[in-house]
């Protein structure tokens, strides 16, 4: 939840579609064939990949709506729409829109070090990672346990020290009890729900108090919801006290915040010929209904309008 796969993300915009899968090769850990998982699975270049974009986008939209509906009820549609846009951005920033992947069972695609958290720098994080993912009924397993499989199912792990888990890159160190030990990573929806819930606690507080900070207002004094979205991610990445980090160009994490700004812009471009997912070449397909809902949200964010028809068709 704090260390996006930034290096990969930076490369993504420069790479062709097949290279996207190559980047994923460097951040995926292999799941036991005996455990059950829930949610869409990314299958690169497979026929059903076409469904994946819709599936993951729908989960994000539904869960984001669940978190933000209160703002809509209050009549604060700007806060609602900006949170939906933020929610579409964070899984792209953190996990390249992938939680689970399935690949052909080639030995080169199975990495024991990653599955066993051997390269995690922090001993503390390593202990939590292993306790949740490598003990008891193992979730992530050594390659030798998968010799007869035709395919591997994999979970994205990573971050700068390799201990962050899933599409929302939830930190093994900080979210052990509330997330990892409860096995929520086995479900795409549970992972998205947990991450967005954590995000909302920061977001809601900033929306209510933006006037008391000097980094969230427009010159007119009204709320700048895109800045609020950026501040929310700064806090997601650095902790609750870091809400204005994005506005500090001298911050040691300014690169992280600039990376997020770029991904937020990708989300905002979605209603203007932009792509959903990693990069242009590896864009995930969306059905017209899901694309319309996203277009509607982005247009609302940009113009201050409040059209809900397409979104309602998805979340109701």
């Amino acid at each position: 939840m704090k260390k996006p796969i930034l290096i990969a993300a930076a490369l993504l915009s420069l790479t062709p579609a097949h290279a996207v899968n190559g980047i994923l090769n460097g951040v995926m850990a292999t799941i036991s064939s005996k455990v059950q998982i829930e949610g869409p699975i990314y299958r690169h270049d497979k026929r059903d990949q076409d469904r994946y974009g819709d599936q993951i986008a729908t989960i994000i939209l539904e869960e984001a709506h669940r978190q933000a509906k209160r703002f809509l009820d209050e009549g604060n549609h700007q806060a609602y729409n900006a949170f939906i846009a933020l929610s579409l951005t964070v899984p792209n920033q953190e996990g390249l829109m992938v939680h689970f992947r399935e690949v052909d069972a080639k030995r080169s695609l199975c990495n024991d070090e990653r599955s066993q958290g051997k390269n995690i720098k922090s001993d503390k994080a390593k202990r939590h990672f292993r306790s949740a993912l490598n003990s008891g009924e193992d979730f992530l397993v050594p390659c030798r346990k998968l010799r007869r499989e035709k395919t591997y199912r994999q979970l994205i792990v990573g971050g700068s020290d390799g201990s962050d888990v899933g599409i929302m890159q939830v930190s093994a160190l900080w979210h052990y009890d509330e997330f990892l030990s409860q096995g929520k990573f086995a479900s795409v929806r549970s992972t998205v729900r947990y991450g967005l819930s954590y995000l909302m606690r920061r977001y809601k507080k900033i929306v209510r108090t933006y006037g008391s900070e000097n980094c969230f207002s427009k010159t007119s004094g009204s709320a700048d919801y895109l800045k609020i979205a950026r501040g929310t991610w700064s806090a997601y990445n650095g902790g609750p006290s870091q809400i204005c980090r994005f506005a500090d160009p001298s911050s040691p994490f300014a690169g992280h915040d600039e990376g997020f700004k770029g991904n937020l812009q990708k989300t905002l471009d979605l209603n203007n010929g932009g792509y959903f997912g990693f990069n242009q070449a590896g864009a995930l397909k969306l059905s017209s209904s899901v694309q319309s809902a996203i277009n509607e949200v982005i247009t609302n964010v940009e113009t201050g309008s409040n059209n809900q028809r397409a979104m309602k068709a998805i979340v109701n």
Partner: protein, 294 residues
């Protein structure tokens, strides 16, 4: 001929294995969720590591401690599944609570990680206190919680930024005192809380509001609304939406909210406050702050 049987057997086992563990089973199920199994091999967690630094050695060598740091042991079944006598559980939990309660707000020695991330609501001390109070709330008699938990300490826990800890503290308060006592003590204390903490307390107290104490409750909302920041006020009013108020009570609360009206930065919060007040009015009347504050 002799070789046929093992070949068939191997094929059958292979087929069974494939059906059981093969990719066909790896469907996108909506109903199946992995739950980490019982830890068979000892894995030292960060919680273990941190608590060993924060607690005296005498405590961390206890069997009850080992069960406490076992992440697979749910709070619900702490005593039973760990095979602990209540006396052992009480001895450990009371000592751990006593050691952590004074330092949890500062993290009990835990600071930012290597990447600079720090969230006080997720420190080992906070999560451990939450677990202690969850276990205490489930077994109040067996663990003699009144002997080692004081209302004063529990009320202090309401300041925590961890929602689960606040909830567990309130549950123990209700276990240890009559609802009337808790209502009065905590309601008064809620004026000293802010943001989510204040909202959570009001939400827990709202079900205990009745004809006899509703005015006291409304007076308290007014007191918070009079001085609280807009985040605290919106949280508290949202949390009080389960309570039905009269027009005069609605006007009593809204009269002190006029300080927010006209401030452009509070426009969204005004909407939130009005929404909550009108929910409390159950559509019997409408409160519009702009009209109230003329």
């Amino acid at each position: 001929m002799k070789r046929v049987v093992p070949v068939i057997a191997i094929l059958a086992i292979g087929a069974l294995g494939y059906l059981t563990w093969g990719p066909e089973k790896q469907v996108d199920s909506e109903s199946l969720v992995f739950v980490p199994g019982k830890v068979e091999k000892k894995v030292v967690t960060f919680r273990d590591d941190m608590l060993k630094k924060a607690l005296p050695e005498k405590i961390t060598t206890m069997k009850a401690y080992q069960a406490f740091v076992d992440p697979t042991l749910a709070s619900t079944f702490y005593l039973r599944d760990a095979g602990l006598r209540p006396k052992e559980g009480k001895e450990f939990l009371s000592a751990a609570f006593s050691n952590l309660k004074g330092c949890f707000l500062e993290g009990c020695g835990q600071g930012p990680d290597d990447e600079g991330f720090f969230d006080p609501s997720l420190t080992v001390a906070t999560i451990s206190l939450k677990r202690i109070l969850e276990i205490a709330a489930i077994n109040p008699e067996k663990l003699d919680v009144k002997e080692w938990l004081s209302s004063e300490d529990l009320v202090d826990m309401l300041k925590s930024t961890n929602k689960g800890l606040r909830k567990a503290a309130l549950k123990n308060l209700f276990n240890m005192n009559s609802p009337t006592q808790v209502f009065q003590e905590v309601l008064g204390y809620s004026r000293d809380l802010e943001g989510y903490s204040a909202g959570d307390v009001i939400k827990e107290l709202a079900p205990f509001v009745n004809g006899n104490n509703i005015q006291e409750f409304v007076d308290n909302l007014e007191a918070i609304a009079r001085v609280g920041d807009s985040f605290t006020v919106t949280e508290v009013l949202e949390s009080a939406e389960g309570v039905v108020i009269s027009r005069s009570q609605g006007e009593q609360i809204s009269s002190v909210l006029c300080r927010f009206v006209g401030d452009k930065k509070e426009a969204g919060n005004i909407k939130a406050m009005e929404y909550s007040l009108n929910n409390m009015a159950r559509n019997k009347f409408e409160l519009k702050l702009a009209n109230q504050c003329l």
